[in-house]
């Protein structure tokens, strides 16, 4: 007993002293005020290539600037809104963060964003031509620039060309919905091969996978429940029920995004609604799939438009209004959006004027291996119809309503008409943006 008592005292007394001292001096900064200012940077670049790019430029910045230090926190896209809300609710807002279309809209609605026009000064001129393009402009609110893009993204269809050819389907025939339906049917050979998927365990990704059908049938997105569009919505759901559901693996009910990537790489699925980020996502781990023989990039089919469509949006940085280090955060943004760092960006396209495929090949971490992919995109963007991806809010709740109704339809518990009623009655009272 005595031994336990002395052990207890020996271990806990110093700890208690530290806690008491810590509480007592909690308000006194332990690091000198002359030290570097720490900028908290929330990044959703969790893939190998994005992480490497971030790490390189953070190290370069921290080396070049002794007065500012970047502290990066990596967060999956699915948790970004929650994390930023929690930081703000706790009274310790982050300084800068990545955004994509739905995040910047939601933060703007919340009033969390700092306009960047003045902070960025002249450097913004290099971005304005691309972000003011109505096809990708999603960062200008009330005439103010609330985000600075480092890339613009196109949504498209990636198909396993090798698998389709083996099934007797020419990949180029997926330029119509009839062609897609035929390809899905031909490439479905359960249990080892299926046409496509919905990752039902992840509402955000389910909505993402569904986007191509809704845009391709003339809607603004899964949230577009306007009465005048009801017929289109139901037609889309009917297509999904009749032509898509028979070709998805039953296991997809419990899939998340990582399962989708594995399914594409392994050839379990052949048709993958994705985006221009696919190369950067898969090349580091699966270069055997990321080549011109096995992956064919196509625009989304569109009723009455044989060229197809590419919904576009930007990904970039925002600064939070509540940040206490705006001056330093602006320096980080300027550094991260310099031409050199953007040219090395491993995914998607760069929103700087005057950059070419050849420029990027020279400095990009993937080098020559990316040429075919960038050319594919270059060509698609010249031939297909570019449209703006319409952001909506509150995306979390709407995605959830949509996912649950779609899953019930898959399970045979709802008809397309009933699914529409369930989605529209849930979404209509919630929708804060777009305001139709």
């Amino acid at each position: 007993m005595d031994m336990h008592g002395s052990w207890f005292k020996a271990v806990w007394s110093p700890l208690l002293a530290v806690v008491v001292l810590g509480l007592g001096f909690g308000s006194v900064p332990l690091i000198s005020a002359q030290g570097p200012v720490e900028v908290l940077y929330l990044s959703t670049g969790t893939t190998t290539s994005e992480h490497a790019w971030n790490a390189k430029w953070i190290a370069e910045f921290n080396k070049a600037r002794s007065d500012i230090r970047i502290k990066m926190e990596e967060i999956p896209w699915t948790d970004l809104l929650t994390k930023v809300a929690a930081y703000h609710a706790a009274g310790i807002p982050p300084d800068i963060a990545w955004y994509a279309s739905s995040q910047i809209l939601e933060w703007q609605v919340l009033g969390l964003l700092e306009p960047l026009d003045e902070w960025l000064g002249d450097t913004k001129k290099e971005f304005l031509p691309s972000i003011l393009d109505p096809k990708v402009s999603d960062v200008i609110f009330d005439g103010k620039m609330m985000g600075v893009p480092f890339t613009y993204v196109g949504r498209n269809l990636a198909v396993r060309a090798d698998v389709l050819r083996a099934a007797g389907v020419n990949p180029v025939t997926l330029n119509t919905w009839e062609g897609v339906a035929k390809a899905l049917k031909a490439s479905t050979k359960p249990p080892s091969r299926y046409g496509t998927y919905f990752p039902f365990a992840d509402a955000l990704r389910t909505a993402g996978a569904a986007e191509m059908y809704f845009r391709g049938f003339g809607l603004d997105g899964i949230f577009d429940v306007r009465p005048e569009k009801k017929a289109n919505y139901i037609k889309t759901l009917q297509y999904i029920k009749n032509d898509v559901f028979p070709s998805i693996p039953p296991a997809a009910v419990s899939w998340r995004y990582v399962d989708v990537l594995q399914a594409y790489v392994s050839g379990l699925i052949t048709v993958h609604p994705t985006g221009s980020y696919l190369f950067g996502e898969l090349q580091p781990s699966n270069p055997e799939v990321m080549n011109i023989e096995k992956t064919k990039n196509l625009p989304f089919p569109m009723v009455g438009n044989p060229k197809g469509i590419l919904p576009m949006y930007t990904v970039g940085y925002v600064m939070f209004k509540a940040s206490k280090k705006k001056k330093e955060a602006a320096e980080v943004l300027k550094f991260f959006t310099r031409k050199q760092s953007l040219l090395e960006w491993p995914m998607n396209m760069v929103p700087k004027s005057g950059t070419t495929v050849a420029d990027r090949i020279q400095v990009n971490m993937f080098g020559e291996s990316m040429r075919w992919y960038l050319r594919d995109w270059d060509q698609m963007m010249r031939t297909a119809t570019l449209i703006k991806r319409v952001p909506y809010t509150p995306s979390g709740e709407i995605n959830n309503i949509f996912r649950d109704a779609l899953l019930k339809m898959y399970q045979g518990r709802l008809t397309p008409e009933q699914a529409y009623d369930e989605i529209s009655s849930g979404v209509r009272p919630l929708l804060k943006y777009p305001r139709y």
Partner: protein, 272 residues
Amino acid sequence: LVVVVGYPFLRGIQWSFTDFYLLKGLTDWNFIGLENYVKFIRDPKTPQFLINSVIWVTASLALQSTLGLTLALLLNRPMRFRGIYRALVLVPWVTPTVVAALIWRWILHEQWGVVNLTLMRVGVIDQPIRWLSDTTLVWISLLVMAAWRFVPFWYVNILAGLQTIPREMYDAAAIDGAGRVGSFWHITLPFLRPVLGVLFLLETVWRANEFSTIWVMTEGGPAGATTTLAILTYQTGFLFYRIGYAASMGVSLTIMLAFFAWYYIRRVRMEA
């Protein structure tokens, strides 16, 4: 305690009477009385979430207590390498819950999981079993994972209880002609009652509040099939930003658990 428990608890109760919704603003909220509670009670989906919580808690407790008791009885007997077995049984308990849930998710993965792969290779099945996407099987998957993770806690406590039972009691019972079953019912179980009583109370509260296991394995799916009150509270607050409404769910869960604890302790005392 005042800072890390008292303040958040009181703040949660306060918010449960407000319309606090993050998309309206971080400070823009009003008192709305019992509106959140009424909405929660009247929501047609609430009974299903309550049933899910009851299924999860009762089935977890039944499975884990049975396995924990069996394991403790087995490893309380003299055998070779008993120390090694006793240590090995604790491995799941020291594995972080999120890691354990991720591992089990992969083990039970319908397409590439080792369970389906093995069953298909030995010819037991020709189609993958839908461990995580079938609304019934998903419960079995969750309960098996939770049993693997939490049985060691039952086992180690019950084993400690078993070791306090005097050997002489069993010797006297044997002289009186009691068999193994009789000794178990009349000596082992009564002696274990205090330990089991505490375990049932603690585990009921812990399982009712369980988040990580279910979230990592299923995120409450498919289509809400495994959404318990704890999962629903998280979704409502942190994914849908309805902080006031989520707080009312959290407070309701706390009230239910407090009532259960009060009733349970009262019952145990009366029986004692």
